[in-house]
Amino acid sequence: MFQAKNIVKSFNGIEVLKGVDLSVKTGEVIAILGPSGSGKTTLLRSLNLLEKPEQGEIIVGNKLINVNKTNQQDILELRKRTSMVFQHYNLFKHKTILQNVTEALIVVQKKTKKEAVKIAISELEKVGLGDKLDQYPSQLSGGQQQRAGIARALAINPEIILFDEPTASLDPELVGEVLEVMLKIANQGVTMVVVTHEMEFAKHVADKVVFMDQGKVIEEGTPHEIFNYPKQERTKKFLQKVSPDYIFKLKEQRQLQHTL
């Protein structure tokens, strides 16, 4: 169980999150959709306090954190129980793929090197990088780097993994291998919150879709509800714009007018 209540955050006096609630059940996959600037990435980054909101509460398991009265201890505990996958992978460039995964296990979880390596190898094999252990991030493709990033997030065995547009900076042909890994871990019951522009992923993998705009949650529901029967005008407009049908219809209309 992971919950965020009434999260308010502003940058330079402009409110980018205007009291957002989000609740995630254990094992659930939540996709957050919305136009650029809707605050979805800021929301995600507020969930592990990489961004510090001005107001709100975060509940992870049985622990309640009031973001106004956080101390260093609270922040560290929250971060130990969550992990994050970044748009630009953010692998440690001076460490091998294996060391990238063992780093937090050794430094934060105080595991022995042997234990850490064992866990890391098994996670890296899961994402299909068992043969890249001693390579450096710069020697890997974007898709491989992102899969390593996912292995790093999985290895610490968090209660929830936060994905920040994990496929947004990948070459189109590399998107598939990353989504495949995400689907695999979703099927294993890992709790996930995914900020994404991959509509198909949201449609087919998510248990719940949250649509955000202008710092607010506009609408949430099952993928079926959101994609087929959106209630809010703003959601309808957004889905229309991201679906190719809309463009083709325009073209047909124009051709029709032309012939008339």
Partner: protein
Amino acid sequence: MNLDIPFIGVALQAMVKVIPLTILMTILPIIFGLLIAIVISFIQIRHIKFMEPLSHFYTSFFRSTPAILHIMLIYLGLPALIKLVADLMYISVDPNKIPVVVFVIMALSLTAGAYLIEIIRSGIISVDHGQIEAAYSTGMTHKEVFQRILLPQAIDIAFPNFTNLLIGFLHTTSIASIIAVPEITGTANIVAADNYSFLEAFIAAGIIYWILSLIIEYIQSIAEKRRSVYKEEF
């Protein structure tokens, strides 16, 4: 002008003996300076109260005054200070028994620290912020992120500047000769004074400084190859 070529060989022999002392006077200030610089970088990144303005005063002073002045201030000032404190505490200490080299190493450590802070700082700002966030997101403390992720990469990026400073400091040790430390330049003066062959002695000194600098550059090139493994993306 007649050059006493064989005397160059004689001078070289005398100076080879003081190479260890010269290297000690180069390496120790760099090591102590690096420790000073690492601590101060952390203070400046974390904006630690009271310490931060103090650290700015330190860097400003030591970067704005010549190394010879630092040596003189420590060499002349520190014994007097030690004597004063010892007298106040009724302990009898004779600061004259402290070898002069110790004062030189202390002074140059402070000089090196001030320059190394800037070198490390330029390395730190080149490490991309995403990695720092990734490290924080796993639950690392500020100190762990600094030690494990930020500093190793900052030092790597700053490495070429660092070896430049090392070569610079090898040459800076020569000013210790003015307070009679028998390092390479000091020894050149001493051997030359015997028969007034100053030019020959300094040609010999030049050869030694040159070779030592070439060795440092060679070590740098080997180290650069090692780190080029992950450097491609920088």
